[in-house]
Symmetry: C2
Subunit: 198 residues, 2 copies
């Protein structure tokens, strides 16, 4: 094998992916032991796609899984930007992520890197029903984690019911009205219980 | 929604999957900071399937990805059994894993749980070319991690070159002779370098 050998390039890319296991997200694990990382988050989301596919009729589930497996790879270089902070400097973050995509997918043989890069572009642009479903699941999963930890990072940042509904409603409802109806009921119940406790 | 509502059952299953992020494997991360967990391992393997598909012509890659996403879920109840220890009590481990599969996949609506259970059975039995490719990747990934950490868990357990070749050769070569040829060259070079130093 030479340095330009396709298999060598594929293995170099897979070795580089190791680093996504050390990219820390804001969400905590439900047991509270530590923060979630972007690699296990990506696995969890792929399982969301497999399991929640019945709520997105007509969607190509296999494509959604691929979108979710690769959606956070750029964070190896760019880090995880929490949703509520991203608004501060969107253009700079986007440029950093594009440079990351070029470097990381560029490790692969050209046509294979281009295929993964196109998947990432599709996800980011929410260009297809599959990308919109994937984005909605990416928003739904932290909601469930926060509900399972009685508030989780919502409490850390004093996020209100109205903010949760405003941030999560459009992407999740766009992905699946059924899923958003269920999430709404759970979110409403959570904040109502909080008010009852005082 | 009632307790038997399909969406409620799907969400309960996805919430339970959270626990796979806390199942610790023997492999260390390449940066040495901690051991790998089975959720991020499953993500990494799904990426192996996406990227190494060219080395398994005729294989249904999407199916391999699904097999790898679900292959370790039983560890939520049964834990991760290192390969070199599994021989000690295979029947007991197998029974524990089957009970885990029944409980965990049983959280889902019946037909959906049965589909995932069938995927797990296919993986365990290496019943198809897809399952054999998935098993081979599951064996290849720790080899790469050990090579990237200059020996890793091979050193911890004084594993010899002959043991690596004997344990990993059949499953990886069965998955893809090309991948085994590449892995063999890397393993031989690693142990040769060790002998030269020591």
């Amino acid at each position: 094998m030479t340095a330009a050998d396709p298999l060598t390039r594929r293995l170099a890319f897979l070795a580089e992916l190791e680093k996504l296991k050390s990219v820390t997200r804001q969400s905590r694990l439900v047991d509270g032991s530590r923060n979630e990382n972007s690699a296990e988050h990506s696995w969890h989301l792929a399982m969301f796609a497999m399991v929640l596919a019945p709520h997105a009729p007509g969607i190509d589930t296999e494509r959604v899984i691929e979108l979710l497996l690769i959606h956070d790879i750029v964070e190896i270089d760019a880090g995880d930007v929490p949703y509520h902070l991203a608004g501060k400097d969107l253009a700079k973050i986007a440029a950093t992520e594009v440079a990351a995509a070029e470097r990381l997918f560029g490790l692969l043989p050209e046509d294979e890197g281009a295929r993964l890069r196109a998947l990432w572009d599709e996800f980011e642009a929410e260009a297809t029903p599959e990308a919109r479903f994937a984005k909605g699941l990416d928003r739904l999963q932290p909601v469930l984690l926060n509900l399972m930890t009685d508030g989780g990072t919502w409490d850390d940042f004093a996020v209100t019911e109205e903010q949760v509904m405003a941030r999560c409603g459009p992407p999740i409802e766009g992905a699946s009205p059924e899923l958003w109806a269920a999430a709404t009921a759970l979110i409403r119940a959570h904040f109502a219980a909080r008010r009852a406790v005082g």
